[in-house]
Subunit: 323 residues, 2 copies
DNA sequence: TTGTAAGCGTTATCAG
DNA sequence: CTGATAACGCTTACAA
């Protein structure tokens, strides 16, 4: 920066004011033009560390997550990054293995970098416990909840998701609708409530035998769907807790000599593109706004974090061919 | 740091030496102990920016990628991060939308952060063109190649992958093996060579009508497999360019009234867990060492980058139930 | 083995 | 509007 100033016969401060586009200080347009010209000519590039040191603002945000490898991670990362970029901030992403508990050393490293906020995002909707040190900066959780309830979280509206999916099936003329739910405590409760609300609204009696649950994978989906389809009065539609479970359900339908949609309508959950868009037939499913969630976390950190106590976001139905 | 020094009646340099564990300077063990004790007691945490400024070493590495959302991304990010961590380095991950060309503004931002190296990784094995500015620091490409051939790349051995998959099928007793290849020019060529080498080695004539190609998705896999299975002398085994194509091929096999493995063996490529592990039957497929590739990129940046002209890594077969 | 002092590249303050 | 000058928190010769 000194070079630029010297080259122009200006002081370093003036160059600094121009480069930071400070509106509280009036600089001649001509001067600004010359500064920018010299900047490109001399190939000057600001030094982020020096800037941080002098201004005691790093514009760094930490994102700790186990989702880099999950199909949901992309959305959260993309959304968070876009929002950070718009705020002139840089995202320090740290990917951890398990969502069980963040590695304290990783958090420590982020704090050494003087991140000005921390986002903790998980692939599954779970309860987590962060290292004590995290509390030193503002923290927002995404898709998970703090066991101690100390930090605000951004989580999907599971009840609404369950309602939306079930409603779609009811609108398709179905009266006997099976729910192949997730075992996990947190989300399943909400989805089931939504499922039941949709049924009641339509004047359909809730038949508890039509509600089963298991793990998130295709294997469980297959077994559970098979179980339901063997009833003497089997459901004509299935709402599955994950797209992978729906993938298994498809196989169960076929095994029973039936056809997806024609004989048994299926709605999934997640809109995991690789599965949903390529299954045959393609899968109608509930999509969650992961990008928005990532962006919302950044916005929360940039806003009134003290006054932010989390938010619940709604998903929507992606209509394809299975229902 | 001054506080720690004052607290102990030492100079700041001494504390600095201890904290950085400098072996070129001999410090009394007792002094070291006292320093670390005071560090925890006072809750001192080094300031990364100040350290960078003073030492002109940032220990920052930039990772630009379009893979955050891809199933391969996780591995590369995880591997790169682990290696970076071991070198005491921090990864600045920037996720971009398309692999076509990195956003120059993103690279510029990384350079302002004074990253000491740049990794550019893509989901697909493609040719890319980086902004001019990237050349200011060492660059390593992962899973892609520079159109100008300026930067070293770490890419998978496609020929070996093709050979491995085909060989597995031959060992399973198959003589007529279909290749459902990717359309993309770069990788397909190599895989096909490997496929042909395996056949020739086994004394099997290469039948060009058994080689078809299309896009990477299940739809293409379905169409192409169907096409091959309609031959009067259809293949008894299929090697598919991606797991998603294999997913489509499964459907084609079923549609033809045949059974996967029993009637038609199928081998995929990618080991995309969500597909491979949950397909019914589960998919035997070629896995690529993405974690190792990510780690290798970091190692290359830390090693003799001038002398590094890229490397080719080998995948392996993951045996499941489809072949 | 420890201390002193001079930067590192900015921003911030304050006087002109 | 512009220019000195003092931080920012640390590393690193160089001295002691």
């Amino acid at each position: 920066m000194g070079d630029v100033a010297r080259h122009l016969g200006l002081s370093r401060s003036t160059v600094s004011f121009v480069i930071n586009d400070r509106t509280d200080i009036r600089i001649a347009e001509e001067t600004k033009r010359r500064v920018w010209e010299a900047v490109t000519e001399l190939g000057y590039r600001p030094h982020a560390a020096a800037r941080s040191l002098a201004s005691s603002r790093t514009n760094l945000l930490g994102l700790v997550t186990d989702i880099a490898s999950s199909p949901f991670g992309g959305g959260i990362i993309t959304g968070a990054q876009r929002a950070a970029w718009e705020h002139g901030q840089v995202l320090l992403i740290v990917s951890i293995d398990s969502a069980a508990s963040a590695d304290a050393a990783m958090i420590e490293m982020l704090l050494e970098q003087r991140v000005e906020g921390l986002i903790y995002a998980t692939a599954g909707h779970v309860a987590v416990s962060l290292p004590e040190a995290a509390a030193e900066v503002p923290v927002v959780l995404v898709h998970c909840e703090d066991v101690d309830g100390r930090y605000p979280s951004i989580i999907p509206d599971e009840e609404h998701g369950g309602y939306t999916a079930t409603r779609r099936l009811i609108d398709g003329g179905h009266r006997r609708i099976g729910l192949i739910n997730l075992d996990a405590p947190l989300p399943s409760a909400g989805r089931r409530s939504g499922y039941e609300r949709a049924l009641r609204e339509a004047g359909i009696d809730v038949d508890p035998t039509l509600v089963v649950s298991g793990s998130a994978d295709a294997g469980a989906g297959f077994e559970l769907a098979r179980q339901l389809l063997r009833f003497t009065d089997p459901p004509s539609a299935l709402f599955c807790g994950t797209d992978r479970m729906a993938m298994g359900a498809f196989d169960a339908v076929r095994e029973a000599g039936l056809r997806v949609r024609t004989d048994v309508a299926v709605v999934g959950y997640d809109d995991q593109e690789i599965v949903a868009a390529y299954l045959r037939p393609t899968l109608t499913t509930v999509a969650l706004p992961f990008e928005e969630m990532g962006a919302a976390a950044v916005e929360a950190l940039n806003g009134d974090i003290e006054g932010f106590d989390g938010s619940i976001v709604r998903g929507w139905l992606v209509e394809r061919d299975s229902a």
